[in-house]
């Protein structure tokens, strides 16, 4: 069965959110994604792939990866961890926390949805998280990361909701910490020395999508 056969249309599926005029009035914007399709291709090449999602749980994404792609999904909301450290005034502990955050065996994960969490970390914390992600990713596994290219403005996180393999709905929600800095390409690549850049796309919404692969 090909990838496209396994990806049913998503736009008409029932959503957990309320429908009607009020819901339509605050409809989340949908943006194109170029790297997601390639990321999905990496996953579908495996039988029963293991996926690590670093964002807040999104029910439709869980259904998408679980029911349609047969993934086992680990949900580890790093954004919530950042907020908790900000709330407790313990940001200096965040790098050490992230170093021990993922109780997942080495090389056991086929794909990682990193989303844009790196943008919300300062360098030491980002380095620790990147090292951990590299550790848990299996050889030939894929990591999808988003990186902002515009000046940080607001203190909001984004839930990325998969509409289909080329579209993502961006649903923002309050954050206790804003984006820390704009990372240049070389900074991003240096964060993941154990991975190689497979694809990189600069989108019209000022988001850079980078698909990393772990060398075999």
């Amino acid at each position: 069965m090909g990838l496209l056969d396994r990806l049913a249309p998503r736009k008409n599926e029932p959503d957990a959110r309320p429908h009607g005029a009020a819901a339509d009035a605050v409809e989340d914007p949908v943006f194109a994604t170029k790297a997601l399709r390639k990321f999905l291709s990496c996953l579908t090449s495996r039988e029963s792939p293991v996926l690590l999602d670093l964002g807040p749980v999104v029910g439709s994404n869980v259904s998408f990866f679980g029911e349609q792609l047969g993934c086992k999904i680990f949900v580890e909301d790093i954004y919530a961890d950042i907020d908790r450290h900000v709330r407790n005034n313990k940001l200096e502990d965040l790098p050490a926390f992230l170093k021990k955050r993922l109780a997942i065996a080495d090389g056991s994960v086929d794909g990682i949805l990193c989303w844009d969490v790196i943008d919300y970390l300062d360098r030491p914390a980002a380095q620790e998280l990147a090292a951990e992600l590299t550790r848990v990713l299996r050889p030939d596994g894929a990591l999808l990361g988003f990186f902002g290219t515009a000046a940080p403005r607001d203190t909001r996180y984004t839930k990325f909701i998969i509409v289909d393999e080329v579209n993502l709905k961006h649903r923002s929600y309050p954050a206790l910490r804003g984006r820390q800095a704009i990372l240049l390409n070389r900074d991003i690549i240096r964060l993941f020395p154990g991975l190689r850049v497979s694809d990189s796309f600069l989108l019209q919404n000022n988001l850079r999508e980078i698909l990393f692969r772990k060398p075999s």
């Binding site: 749980v57 029910g59 999904i73 109780a103």
Partner: protein, 142 residues
């Protein structure tokens, strides 16, 4: 015919193994193991569960800490919370629900979840809980 539904009220605290052959709604506190193999378990908004759960369907409006295995569906509603690993062919997680752990939706033809609970075996959740220090944030293992 009216369907039997049993309620465990808000003030009730149960520690141990809970087995049943009818649908059950829990509004109280339960610690241990819950097994309703062919029936629906509903954790009400006031329900607080620290247990390994095995049921046909599980609907969560309250809080569950522990692994949840269902042969049909796990449904975490708005404001419902699950910290643990879920095994079920169908999983629905509402906007506003909290979930931390892993989701394993076994494909058709795979083993039927909940058919053979192994309370003696340590779950990843239990392993994690043992590893955690008192103040450390909870982590979910592979």
């Amino acid at each position: 015919m009216e369907k039997d539904i049993v309620n465990i009220g808000k003030s009730v605290v149960i520690k141990g193994e809970l087995n049943g052959s009818e649908d059950l709604t829990i509004e109280g506190h339960v610690e241990g193991t819950i097994q309703l193999r062919d029936h629906v378990l509903t954790i009400g908004p006031n329900g607080r569960i620290k247990a390994q759960v095995f049921a046909k369907s599980v609907i969560v409006l309250g809080e569950v800490t522990g692994n949840v295995t269902a042969s049909d569906k796990v449904d975490i509603r708005d404001n419902g919370s699950v910290d643990g690993d879920i095994i079920a062919p169908r999983v629905a997680i509402a906007e506003g629900a909290h979930f931390r752990g892993s989701v394993d939706m076994q494909r058709k033809g795979g083993p039927v979840p909940g058919s053979k609970p192994q309370p003696a075996a340590q779950s990843s959740q239990q392993q994690q809980q043992q590893q955690q220090s008192a103040n450390a944030p909870q982590r979910v293992g592979a």
